[in-house]
């Protein structure tokens, strides 16, 4: 086998793998549209006041969540970057955690802190003020800010870290006042990071399912995703579910296109920060306000974690941990997570090898460039077609031929696998690219092909990031509720699903215990990933 044949095989398997993923993502709807007697009537959908209200609320909550997250992240990032105290790195690490926390656990924690019998409400009653009502728009916003403000803040701190040292020295030497530093140094550094961060957060909030499911209140506070779920699980109104799903797909596609036009990959620049040395002129007022902002922001992000731990420990953990339902759910979750992670890693690797083979081509033509771009896009398409929508498509399609719930586990595993793909690609691609840049030509000149090349070049380079990606994918599907929500049944219960059930039947103590368990496992897995990736960054090149 010569190297050209080898490359062709790689490209072909990669394309096959990508088509498999795409086929799964869109397959349900394609089947559905093919067998349904008439095309969905969009005009009728949009004249439905209920649906218009849902679309309106979806956009409203996403817009407000984005605005609040970004507006709060700016002063926090600026204050944190400027302030000098020993715990800075720790705070930035804390701000990683919301991304690792299963959304359902986060939503429960927000209720524990901000709910009607939560800590804040108790404080308000002590002052003779009314309790907070967390259900509805306000709760959704609090939860979205909890998950996304830290993300934005980290992006902004990374942007401030990219300011050249000389600018901080200059600002110090010229004795610029705080506002001057903001106007001349900080704002120009933050501004380019804004559109990307806002677009990313808007996208996450438009497709947010779990938070709205738990914290939304009735038809007035429902998003498209939750409406699809309700149309299928409660009202069983397939035509409405199809219509809502299509609207959601079009909506997210539009947002994604807007993101691409804004033209930045916001997830690209994370730093642990705290590197920059600054020489701001002394100012007591500024030091005090910095301390206040950093404290409030840190409390806001840390308090839900504390709530999970405190109320989780108050639950009857020994009983919970020996309960058959809990053990079964944990084992099911484990099986789903391992299967999804394995599947995801295999499919992503095949696609990545094809992308790299196309990039290595001696004379990359137009066709190979287009193919490569398409493969790269395919891996992140899952950002547009969210788990609930994928699940809904297959739910409706499978209903025609088989017992939907019997097929549930397969659909959930596949959905979780596809969900993890964009992240796996991002974790593994740089290592593979570097290995090919360093030794690709050597392999070529030695005529290494097929399994030999895989074993000598690709796998050694990818082994560590692949292991990390596997842990990431497992953590992601371990905590996911979106896919299981539609397919869960008495015979198919994962930990998040069990948690949702206990919350629904007001077994609050049980829910708190399960939340602690779920949060600990997911965060432990993510910590492994973070530590591993940080280790790779530290290694000298």
């Amino acid at each position: 086998m010569n190297t050209r044949t080898d490359r062709r095989i790689r490209v072909a398997t990669g394309i096959a793998a990508a088509l498999l993923a795409l086929g799964f993502l869109l397959g349900g709807f394609v089947v559905l549209l093919a067998v349904s007697p008439q095309a969905p009537d969009f005009a009728a959908l949009f004249s439905d006041a209920y649906i218009r209200a849902i679309v309106g609320f979806t956009l409203l909550q996403a817009g407000l969540s984005t605005l609040l997250s970004v507006l709060l992240a700016i002063p926090f990032a600026v204050a944190l970057h400027r302030a000098r105290f020993p715990g800075k790195r720790l705070i930035l690490r804390l701000f990683l955690l919301p991304q690792a926390l299963p959304v359902l656990v986060g939503a429960l924690a927000v209720i524990t802190i901000w709910g009607q019998s939560g800590v804040v409400s108790q404080g308000l009653t002590a002052l003779g003020l009314p309790r907070l009502d967390v259900y509805g728009l306000s709760g959704i916003l609090i939860a979205h800010v909890f998950f996304n403000m830290p993300l934005a803040a980290r992006l902004f701190v990374a942007a401030l870290d990219r300011v050249p040292t000389e600018s901080w020295k200059l600002a110090g030497q010229l004795a610029l006042p705080p506002l001057g530093v903001f106007r001349l140094v900080e704002w120009p550094a933050l501004r380019p990071a804004l559109p990307g961060a806002a677009a990313l957060i808007f996208m996450l909030c438009v497709t947010s399912f779990t938070i709205v499911l738990v914290l939304g209140g009735g038809p007035a506070a429902t998003t498209l995703e939750v409406a699809v779920y309700q149309a299928l699980r409660f009202d069983f109104d397939p035509s409405r579910a199809i219509g809502l799903s299509l609207i959601q797909i079009v909506l997210t596609a539009l947002v994604l296109i807007a993101t691409l036009i804004l033209g930045r990959d916001p997830a690209g620049g994370f730093g642990l920060g705290a590197k920059a040395r600054r020489f701001d002129a002394a100012s007591r007022v500024r030091d005090m306000s910095d301390a206040l902002i950093v404290t409030l922001g840190t409390l806001f992000v840390a308090s839900p974690f504390a709530a999970v731990v405190v109320s989780g420990l108050a639950a009857d953990l020994p009983r919970l941990l020996t309960e058959t339902a809990v053990i079964d759910a944990a084992l099911t979750s484990l099986a789903v997570a391992l299967a999804a992670a394995s599947l995801s890693v295999v499919v992503s690797t095949l696609v990545l090898l094809a992308i790299e083979a196309l990039a290595q081509g001696r004379r990359p033509g137009r066709l190979s460039r287009v193919t490569r771009r398409s493969l790269e896009t395919a891996t992140s398409l899952v950002l547009v077609v969210s788990p609930v929508i994928v699940g809904a498509g297959w739910f409706l399609a499978l209903r025609q031929v088989t017992d939907v719930l019997a097929a549930g586990p397969y659909v959930v595993v596949a959905t979780n696998a596809v969900m993890a793909m964009p992240f796996i690609v991002r974790i593994v691609a740089p290592a593979l690219r570097q290995a090919n840049a360093e030794t690709g030509r050597l392999a070529e000149s030695l005529g290494l092909t097929g399994l030999a090349r895989l074993a000598l070049l690709d796998l050694p380079a990818m082994r560590r990031p692949l292991a990390l990606a596997f842990a990431f994918a497992a953590a992601l599907s371990f905590g996911d509720l979106g896919a299981i929500a539609l397919y869960g049944s008495n015979d198919f219960v994962t930990l998040p699903y069990l948690l949702l059930q206990r919350m629904g039947s007001y077994r609050t103590a049980d829910a708190a215990g399960l939340a602690l368990l779920l949060g600990l496992i997911a965060i432990a897995l993510m910590a492994v990933v973070e530590g591993g990736l940080a280790g790779r960054r530290r290694r000298p090149t």
Binding site: P164, T165, S167, K169, Q173, L174, L176, L184, P188, F279
Partner: protein, 259 residues
Amino acid sequence: MSQTAANLDGGTVGEEPAPALRLEGVRFAHGAAEMRFDLAVEAGEWLALIGPSGAGKSTLLDLAAGFLTPASGRILIAGRDVTDIAPAERPLSMLFQENNLFPHLDAFRNVALGIAPRLRVSKDERAAVEGALSAVGLDGYGKRLPAEMSGGERQRVALARAFLRERPLILLDEPFAALGPALRAEMQALLARLRQRGDGRPASVVMVTHHPEDAAEMADRVAYLEDGEIAALGPAATMLSGTADPRVSRYLGLARKNV
């Protein structure tokens, strides 16, 4: 040490002015290596710092400017102890190799920052800024952004700002290193002209350089740094001739001539 005693009063001994910059037993840990500096730059002097990379040349400037804090020792500028004083309050201007300008401000405003940190300039200040720009040969460049200027023009803007600030000490961290030989000589000549101020003594200059010929042309004295300390110090001509110190000759590549 009578001079040190005089310096504590911030004054001078008779006609002898206090050194423009004085580092007394300054120690600074730089990773595993420790740097130790003792140095006096005379008022009105032009001192060149040469030596291999990592020897501590830029560290010395950063210590003087207040961007680094010494573990021990004292730093005095014109006789005043500035060891614990913020960079903004030290009477000096520093020019870096790059990023001397804020990229989104035009040349006028970049210069104006030197006297008006809030960028509100009076009529007199406006005239002063325009005068500074014209002194560095950039008449009519006020509205240009750094991206629209050449590397040499950008450093001229930085020079204009430094001289508008009228600080008695100028620290140069290789601001001309990226320029060609002719342009480098031209910039140094400009600097030499600008530092001659109306009221007597010229501003003192401490310059890090990798080009011995620059030092030969401009500097009164040359300090050679190696392994975090000043290994040799002397008049420029002697230091650069290869007769001063074997280490300097080795660095300059003149060792064979010496044997």
